[in-house]
């Protein structure tokens, strides 16, 4: 699929926007990278980070053979056949002794690395696993649970048409989340008819563009939103027509907001009451309002309450299912389960919002003598020993397991703790797909062809899962033969055979569907795109769930959509959504949104007597652990060389705090929390409020030095964070609100890290 002058289409894999890229190769180097003007969503846009992706492909030290752990903790190479056989044996043994539900599956893809993770489903079925988790379960599951109660699924803003755009704990200038974020933000900021509202304790780059920056005190977003809603209720700025026609239970909600003391709540959150009233009237008076909540609030106290209040803000003002407002949307596959009724974890009985084990609970589900504790962990393209709160405890938990298997491209901090490490091909060496598909109204999916051959010794994940499932001996031979035969006849015949097989033996056919598709349909796909086989099932899903949108995008059958996904390497518009599509997606009686969530209303009432203060004499500051910056990204860059500046990942403090602490720019400082301590160099940042310091995300990896040992690249944040400080509903950690002490380090040359 080489295009003009050798430019090949692919995508950025650093954040969920997955901007389309075109790349020119020199040998195995991504020598030149540009935004892809033919990509239907990003249209040539990228940020600076995408242009550094060669550091992902070639910067780190790759794994080139499966590894088995020795009794002394070191690892030795084994060949693939041995690794597959032994891993299957070990999984069988855990299943025999403790049941398949004792195997926890974690991860299954990064920001663009989801296609392989889709095949994990077959292995979960084959071993009888019942529990899964991934990074969403420390970020987004609270919001998903609130969404499940209200509109019934994920909602997005319509940023191109919104009259008022509200960002809560969200700085799209740096962290994107909105396609072509900087362009869209500037368009809103320049248009006198449109208004940008930012709720954030930090004067972010987005706040610089904002018409209204509600500069809350850290951790008081809930009071700010409750006050905004209280103004709307108390001044009767509600959209009564919408509430009458489209909702139920509004009478159960309004008294809780009518009771809010706006002046007192303004005092708690530190935003002038006059500004709160002005913004509340603005939101209520506008015809088209979209909002976006992100980690700034989701990693802070009261996150799930904030999520509820955010959604009430657009629901009580009628901003749903119309242009410029919030929408349900199509997707190729939903990221989480949007269920109100949720399962609980086996040991602690914690609620699994989104169907996922809350990340912060994982150590508690292992470090116990409870008979149903997890005994094994399967980790795919994830690094929980580094990325989950309180790393020390997470590592202790992993050490207590009978079996840890890691699939990754490099020897990550988690892989070092594994019994087996299975080396995967990189994201540019295999068929991959971008998968978030949350764009509105034109929703885009992109299948990415490999730019390079897999590094020798590595395998793409679909092949690893196929081999394991085969080794476990659970593949129904007759079904497989039938599907192979049908695949040779054609796609429609294959569809018929698969649906018939699923009708006859639903549990096994659906359970093993990913690897069944890979093994039977995969070999018939063009250009060796066998790993795209799972898209056949997803195309059927899109046709079933989003038929009208699919047809508006010009695809009349599931088969036609599948062909387009395979053929259009710059990305496919798979649905064109319309605001009216949102209503049929609402799963509640009469398509009405039930507004009352009793336990969150109780929590809302509790704000009146709750203290927003979590600092103490011992830890008088707050640390935002994980600030997104120009040169911070997820940890798939296993090198520090990609950063043009902020190489060490500076600790940023306000100038006043620096003065008080006796620090100047370039000094070393020690950050200490209840869980750990680390050193960083200091940078002054007048965007930060006094009392709040910030460290960037994506640092703290233990990178090989070339002489057999490793060196730590900046601060590993989760040495400092505390899994016990978490949201009572979702279990999400308070990473943006870590009580801390900051002290100058006398002299220099102190070893970084704890």
């Amino acid at each position: 699929m080489t295009g003009a002058a050798g430019w090949q289409p692919t995508a950025c894999i650093l954040c969920e926007n997955n901007c389309g890229l075109v790349v020119q190769l020199e040998g195995r180097h991504l020598a030149r990278i540009r935004g892809d003007k033919e990509h239907p969503s990003s249209q040539g846009y990228t940020c600076n980070k995408a242009l550094r992706l060669d550091h992902y492909q070639n910067g780190g030290e790759r794994l080139t053979t499966p590894l088995r752990r020795n009794p002394d903790g070191s690892h030795s190479p084994v060949d693939w056949d041995t690794a597959i056989r032994e891993v299957a044996d070990r999984l069988r043994a855990v299943r025999r002794e403790h049941g398949g539900e004792s195997i926890l599956f974690y991860g299954g893809g990064g920001q663009g690395n989801h296609l392989g993770g889709a095949y994990q489903g077959s292995l979960r079925h084959a071993v009888g696993a019942r529990y899964q988790s991934n990074a969403l379960a420390q970020e987004k599951t609270g919001e998903a649970w609130v969404d499940a109660h209200l509109a019934g699924g994920h909602t997005v803003g319509d940023w191109e048409r919104a009259e008022v755009a509200v960002f809560l704990g969200k700085n799209p200038w740096q962290s994107h989340g909105v396609p072509r974020a900087r362009t869209v933000l500037q368009q809103i900021a320049k248009d006198p008819a449109r208004t940008l509202v930012v709720v954030d304790p930090v004067r972010t780059e987005t706040a610089d563009l904002a018409d209204h920056h509600l500069r809350v005190r850290p951790g008081t977003d809930a009071w700010c939103l409750a006050a905004l809603l209280a103004v709307i209720v108390q001044e009767d700025l509600l959209e009564h027509g919408f509430l009458d026609r489209h909702t139920t239970g509004v009478d159960a909600v309004l008294p809780h907001l009518a009771a809010v003391d706006v002046a007192a709540y303004a005092g708690v959150c530190g935003v002038p009451e006059t500004q709160l009233r002005e913004v509340a009237r603005l939101i209520a008076g506008a015809g088209r309002v979209s909002t976006y909540e992100d980690l700034g609030v989701q990693h802070s106290p009261h996150a799930t309450v904030v999520s509820y209040l955010n959604k009430l803000l657009w629901l009580l003002t009628g901003n749903f299912a119309k242009p410029g407002a919030m929408q349900r949307h199509s997707w190729v596959a939903p990221l989480a389960k949007y269920d109100v009724g949720v399962r609980t974890t086996p040991v602690t009985g914690a609620r699994m919002l989104g169907g996922l084990v809350p990340c912060n609970l994982i150590p508690d589900e292992i470090l116990t003598d409870h008979p149903r504790r997890f005994r094994a962990m399967w980790v795919d393209s994830a690094n929980p020993a580094h990325s989950l709160a309180d790393s020390q405890r997470m590592r202790e938990a992993m050490a207590a397991l009978d079996l840890v298997v890691v699939i990754d491209v490099a020897m990550t901090e988690t892989a070092r703790l594994a019994d087996y490490v299975l080396p995967a091909a990189s994201q540019f060496e295999k068929w991959e797909a971008t998968f978030f598909t949350t764009e509105h109204p034109r929703n885009v999916f992109q299948l990415r062809a490999p730019l390079l051959e897999p590094l020798p010794g590595t395998l793409p994940e679909p092949e690893i899962y196929s081999r394991l499932v085969r080794e476990l001996g659970v593949v129904p031979r007759a079904t497989e033969a039938l599907l192979r035969g049908a695949a040779r006849v054609g796609r429609a015949a294959y569809t018929g055979a698969f649906l018939a097989a699923a009708a006859v033996d639903r549990r096994r056919t659906v359970g093993l569907a990913p690897t069944l598709l890979y093994d039977t349909l995969g070999p018939t796909l063009p250009d060796g795109a066998g790993a795209a086989a799972v898209l056949w099932g997803l195309a059927l899903r899109v046709a079933r769930e989003h038929g009208p949108g699919m047809r508006r995008a010009g695809r009349h059958t599931a088969g036609a959509l599948f062909e387009a996904m395979l053929a259009q390497r710059h990305g496919t518009v798979f649905t064109v959504d319309e605001p009216g599509d949102s209503w049929p997606s609402v799963p509640h009686a009469d398509r009405r949104i039930p507004l009352a969530i009793p336990e969150l209303l109780t929590a809302l009432d509790g704000l009146g007597s709750a203290s927003p203060k979590h600092t103490s004499a011992e830890f008088p500051m707050l640390l935002a652990a994980g600030q997104r910056r120009s040169f911070s990204a997820n940890t798939i860059f296993r090198t520090s060389a990609w950063r043009a500046r902020d190489d060490g990942g500076a600790l940023r403090v306000s100038p006043a705090d620096a003065g008080r602490l006796g620090l100047v720019a370039g000094d070393r400082a020690r950050v200490t929390t209840a869980r750990g301590s680390a050193e960083a160099s200091v940078d002054l940042d007048d965007r930060l409020p006094d009392g709040l310091a910030a460290l960037p995300n994506g640092f703290g990896l233990d990178l090989p030095t070339g002489s057999g040992d490793t060196t730590r690249d900046g601060v590993a944040l989760n040495q400092l964070t505390d899994g016990a400080r978490r949201d009572p509903f979702s279990g999400s950690p308070w990473h943006k609100h870590v009580p801390a002490r900051i002290e100058p380090v006398a002299g220099s040359g102190t070893t970084p890290g704890a």
Binding site: A493, A503, G547
Partner: protein, 188 residues
Amino acid sequence: MVASAATLIRRHGASGTSIDRVLALSGAPRGSVYHHFPGGRSQLVEEAVRYAGGYVADLIDQAATTGDPVAVVETFLALWREQLVASDYRAGCPVVAVAIESHDDAPQLARATREVFARWQGQLAAVLTGRGLSATRAHQLATFALAAVEGALVLSRAEHGTHPLDDVGTELRGVLRAALPAGPEEAR
């Protein structure tokens, strides 16, 4: 009991499906038959026909969500092919088995088979009209497809092989594709 009756009808026809055989296959106690089926054997047969009809209709509904009439016919074909092979060519379509026998004493059986066939035809016709065919043409093609598949099923059973189903599948694909408005995006 109803599922067991449907299985027996597929193998032995309606007249060969006795209460004794149903009890033997399902393991249900004899008293339960007249409790659940006061109409006796003919009621059991009727419910078996409607049960099988609903099972296949659910599957057709799933296939219909693809929007592709060929996929619907392929699903229908594949179901019978799978059942035929799994039963070593001993089990056919229970609705056909009941329809080809005369039921002078039980007119409700003829009515049940007629309604099941009409439902399947209607489902396929709806997908065809969804792709732009006239109601008349869609109905004719749906009749043609249903007759061809059910006929092929009888031939395959007689022949103890899937060739009739495969041949009919090939021809039906061609006929349906030719009848549909040209779509450049369609594959095979």
